[in-house]
Symmetry: C2
Subunit: 431 residues, 2 copies
């Protein structure tokens, strides 16, 4: 398979998919759901092969768990598709309607982006979810999943693709890349691929960002912070911090650094350290923090530059700050603009924090782990973006559309306006 030729054909077919009706796209989704249900044996058999290979290679149990595709995960995937069917069409929405002059009407209408490349971690449910989101939003997609679930992915993709064709969508609308070298071929398709969404490790995402001219949506690192203000309810603070650190440490929205207001450090730090110890979280901290906890707790000393570290593990950085101003400054310097939270009962501190912290998510009195498309009520997400262009934060269907301007006239020419014969009146119309 030559990815560049396939991508070119896909690009030229993209307007056809973009202009299918939402009924057709929903029908395709329902046919996928049925086909998955009817092909479970085949899917589970392929997944067993992937699981055996993973066990043979001695992959960590936490990773093996992620590769597994069983009855429960299939049921979740199918229910996810059905929820997606119920969501409104993100395309074809009129966003602006304006009469520029008598008989000259401008309309801005949402349309699919076109061709989207998604490179994702080895997790079979990700393939189903991403393909479904792209179909719902009328986008053609090139999918490349992690190699550890290659066999499961192939079976799932074939089921999805034949359902989609059977439902009458253009045959070019989905493509699976299976070889690792095809990733580099895909990165070179900047003429035909409109958007790349890489998911996976920090290093992998950074590689993608650095080796393509295609716009990339996503995040390489998730260095999230919690700042415990001097006006925080310190009892309520502990469970929020422990949730943010330990509920799923490998997630990008897990907290990595705790900033504590110096005024409450004496009383709060030992409580915090106890909670971390109880939850098997290894502590690292500034020399000031180390000195305060010395004797009672094990804390590894760290340098300033080290605070830009994402652990994705049961490890945490701790530092003291003077106030919310210093906290926000630290976060803007060392963070990754993903999600940061302040714990406080002081409205002026939380207002300062949410205004001045330059991140996709700025939280007050809750865990950073809420940064997620499902929890935000977006139905599902293709990823979380720390960039500021297009979509920011968790990206659902809305992030998979752009818009075009339609201008309808009757022989209107610019010369008449430049020459003063006519003038614009810019009257917004109802829609």
């Amino acid at each position: 398979m030559n990815i560049q030729i396939e991508a070119r054909n896909m690009k030229l077919a993209a307007p056809k998919l973009a202009n299918t009706s939402i009924e057709q796209r929903n029908k395709a989704l329902l046919m996928i759901a049925d086909a998955l249900e009817n092909s479970k044996d085949k899917i589970f058999a392929a997944n067993d092969e992937d699981m055996e290979a993973a066990a043979g290679e001695g992959l960590a149990m936490s990773i093996q768990k992620r590769l597994k595709f069983n009855e429960a995960k299939l049921a979740d995937a199918i229910s996810g598709i059905k929820q997606l069917v119920d969501l409104p069409d993100p395309t074809g929405r009129v966003l602006l309607k304006r009469e520029l002059d008598e008989g000259l009407v401008l309309t801005r209408v949402s349309v699919p982006i076109g061709v989207i490349g998604v490179i994702f971690e080895a997790r079979p449910d990700a393939l189903v979810q991403i393909a479904s989101l792209c179909i719902k939003s009328g986008n053609c997609a090139i999918l490349k999943g992690g190699k550890e679930t290659a066999k499961t992915n192939r079976v799932l993709f074939d089921i999805i693709k034949s359902s989609v064709i059977e439902a009458g969508l253009p045959k070019e609308c989905l493509l699976q890349a299976q070889l690792h070298n095809e990733i580099d071929e895909l990165l070179a398709c900047d003429k035909d691929v409109d958007l790349l969404i890489p998911r996976g490790s920090n290093k992998f995402v950074r590689y993608i960002m650095e080796h393509t001219k295609i716009p990339v949506m996503g995040h390489s690192s998730g260095i999230c912070h919690i700042y415990v203000d001097d006006k925080a309810d310190t009892d309520a603070a502990i469970p929020v911090i422990i949730d943010a650190k330990t509920q799923y440490p490998a997630a990008c929205n897990a907290v990595e650094t705790i900033l504590v207001n110096r005024k409450i450090a004496d009383s709060f730090l030992p409580k915090l350290a106890n909670a971390f110890k109880d939850n098997n979280v290894k502590m690292r901290g500034s020399s000031e923090v180390c000195n305060m906890l010395k004797g009672s707790f094990e804390v590894e000393v760290m340098e300033d530059d080290d605070f830009a570290t994402e652990y994705n593990d049961y490890i945490v950085s701790i530092k003291l700050v003077d106030d919310v101003v210093e906290a926000a400054d630290h976060i803007n310097r060392f963070g990754s603009h993903h999600t940061d939270s302040i714990l406080t009962t002081d409205d002026s501190a939380s207002e300062y924090f949410t205004k001045m912290v330059d991140s996709a998510g700025v939280y007050v009195n809750c865990s950073t782990r809420f940064a997620d498309g499902y929890r935000y009520g977006f139905g599902a997400e293709v990823g979380i973006s720390t960039g500021k262009l297009h979509a920011r934060g968790p990206v659902g269907l809305e992030g998979l559309v752009t818009y075009k301007y339609k201008l309808i006239g009757s022989g209107h020419i610019v010369g008449d306006y430049a020459g003063g014969l006519r003038s614009f009146h810019h009257k917004d119309l109802d829609f």
Copy 2:
């Protein structure tokens, strides 16, 4: 000056500017307007020097005209600033408000992008307009203008910057790059510059796009088309085509290729050729077009690949197609996704065209030259984007903002939801 250090400082100061009130930003704009008015002599003196140098170097008169900054242009610039003051604040707008669960409220609010780099052609009014748009939208800006107006730019920039500081905005919010090698330094600031907007020649914009990891908004080429359908009002078609080609041939929204339905070619082509001849437009065409016009008109024959050409001049490409389907296909293959127009009285043809042509602007019965922020009623534009991410088409204030998510809780943790103790109810709230 070290651009990287300055960009870093600007990035860290960006939240301060972002959180100034709209009253403060409007006040700064009005102070700029006054200061420009009060400094005309200084501005015109600097411009005279630039103009003399341009004449000395024998620059084309059309370019010299663009460099000129006189009473009329100053008045336009000042009136543009005042119009901008009257526009609503694009930041701080609530875009979504949703109760995820009891006491856990998510708000999406528009915020400035942060640090924007704009590299623009030698045109003094561009500097005033771009700086004003960035201030209005709360964005820090690094500005680099064309060298042919270096002296005028320096004077204008100093006036703007001191007004802005006097109005109480952060001193880091504006920076002028003056040396050509500073462009490359700017391109390397991907950690601190959130968005680059390059304007100028095709080649220059492509250079920028290929040499930076900063997201770029803009367009390298503007290969716009007009398709004359067999159901077109052919008398009305001629002035639209002539307007699109000749009203300002150097603009990106000028038409480059005319596609004519084969069924009307016999009668329409000679009329079209006559009009082009009368307007001193040089014709190039497929061999079919050349054969049909042979004897009566001079038409240079061109190959298929040659249709992806932007002339920016009194030159046009002409080709025959079977129908709107072939026209849309040609445009999607050879165009630059900028602005394309169909001339027809057939609603089904215009509907097909506006749906299937994958461009920022899809027009019916009007000139491609309408693609412009001012004509769309956006107040002003920073540029026109042919990309599909973030803003598309003419980009005004709205394209200079992003959003952040605020989530306010009272000790909410994800573990409670994962464990089934609580569940989301996703209730949209009024705002």
